[in-house]
């Protein structure tokens, strides 16, 4: 990861490309919300990595699969960044991050960088700063970035907004398999993986998944910060026949069986994203929704900053006395900070 050809790189990018310690420290600043300037500087140098999300119920083998995929990509010479997310305890605010246990094969390889993250109160299966941590790894020129979500089983749909290719992992023998994939998870899968294919029941799980896929028809969906959004279905460049058919792959993550085939599906999916224009379309939706979130957050902070606490308190009083309803009260405050002019649609 040297950069003799690009002397004009921003200092932060030079630093993280030449020093793993610097990269690691930047990731900490990002997690702590103290890296806005660095993120702005490195942003133009992002966009080259293939970002792959790995999600699924607890214990299905996500970490083991990330380990196996990373090993595979290393044999092809590509560098791999890994972000593994585990939940923060809502009681103590602490976390035990244990995904590295399954990734010991990758140690000692300078072409791999693994970072564990705690959700720190975020609910969608990722941390609030996971997307930014991935950007830093992208700018640090890791070619493949694997994101392992929290293994919550149903609510980790945010990954579809953070990754270009989303793998949903199932394993046989986890009780009612079909149940486990009901809650919107099937829709976000670009590739379904039946891991632990060495275990009894793998065939029936695979059949059940194929049957579910046949029932549903594929629409382009994007999830960002927990919101499911449908991308304009009439993408002119995708007709029904060329639409992506979600494959079901079987793997044994602990011995590598099926990993090369899975990697081929992943490559095919990336090719599909490029050729159909879906890659750009998805990215646009993602950027727009990220900006909307930022606007919402920033405007709220500004508004609260401008608002006289006494005025706010008086309005709360009015609402509590039933002289004003909450919506009208909020509008009164907003109109003070942002006077209404001609209404634009």
């Amino acid at each position: 990861m040297s950069d003799e050809i690009a002397p004009s790189l921003p200092p932060v990018v030079k630093a993280i490309r030449s020093s793993r310690r610097e990269l690691s420290r930047l990731l900490t600043r990002i997690e702590n919300g103290e890296a806005d300037k660095d993120l702005a500087a490195l942003f133009p140098l992002t966009g080259s990595a293939h970002i792959i999300g790995v999600t699924g119920a607890p214990g299905t083998g996500k970490s083991s699969l990330v380990n196996a995929l990373a090993k595979h990509y290393r044999t092809t010479g590509r560098t791999v960044g890994i972000v593994a997310v585990d939940p923060t305890s809502p009681f103590s605010g602490g976390a035990v991050l244990g995904d590295r246990i399954r990734m010991r094969d990758l140690s000692g390889d300078p072409g791999v960088f693994i970072r564990s993250m705690a959700t720190r109160g975020s609910l969608g299966g990722l941390a609030h700063t996971t997307v930014e941590v991935v950007r830093a790894l992208d700018a640090a020129s890791f070619e493949v970035i694997l994101i392992e979500t929290v293994g919550a089983g149903q609510s980790e749909v945010e990954i579809a907004g953070a990754a270009q290719t989303t793998l949903v992992i199932e394993a046989p023998g986890l009780g009612d398999d079909v149940q486990a994939i009901k809650a919107g998870i099937l829709e976000i899968a670009d590739i379904l993986v039946v891991n632990k294919a060495d275990r009894p029941g793998a065939e029936s799980t695979t059949r059940a998944l194929r049957a579910m896929l046949d029932l549903g028809h594929r629409t382009e969906r994007i999830v960002h910060h927990g919101q499911l959004m449908t991308v304009p279905a009439a993408n002119p460049r995708v007709d029904e026949s060329s639409a992506w058919q979600t494959p079901v792959a079987q793997t044994v993550a602990i011995n590598g069986t099926g990993i090369a085939e899975l990697a081929e599906h992943i490559t095919n999916h990336l090719r599909y994203l490029h050729q159909s224009g879906t890659l750009q379309l998805r990215e646009r939706v993602r950027i727009e929704s990220e900006m909307t979130d930022l606007l919402r957050e920033t405007l709220l902070m500004r508004l609260l900053h401008q608002t006289d606490p006494a005025h706010l308190g008086a309005l709360v009083d009015q609402v509590q006395l039933r002289r004003l309803d909450p919506v009208s009260a909020a509008h009164l405050l907003i109109d003070l900070s942002f006077p209404r002019e001609e209404k634009q649609p």
Binding site: R20, G33, S92, G94, V96, I101, S107, G108, M301
Partner: protein
Amino acid sequence: MTEVKEHKIRVLVAKPGLDGHDRGAKVVARALRDAGMEVIYTGLRQTPEMVVEAALQEDVQVIGLSILSGAHMALVPRILELMRTNGLDDVKVFVGGIVPDEDVTALKNMGVSGVFGPGANTDDIVKYIRESVSAQA
């Protein structure tokens, strides 16, 4: 971003060496979690290289080494040496396990800042970590 800034204490809990017992390490990991820390737990049979690499990638402020095999006098100096060559001089190291008194002194002279025997109270470990980290800042 405008969110509240959060500074979590990050600790690597590692089990270097060949003994196959990680009950103690897991107890410590959970106690630190319950004290609000982020604990990176790497599992059994870590080489010194693995420990230091994980500490570097995870940017931890503290490394806890659980060593029951009696191999501390072989493992710890190697880990400290690798930490220095990787620029992790400011990371604090504590050792948990069965360590004879004379070795405690030797370990502390090498740069280990805390040694906790098998009967140690996890509250003491929490306190030690909080104090080491705030002394750093």
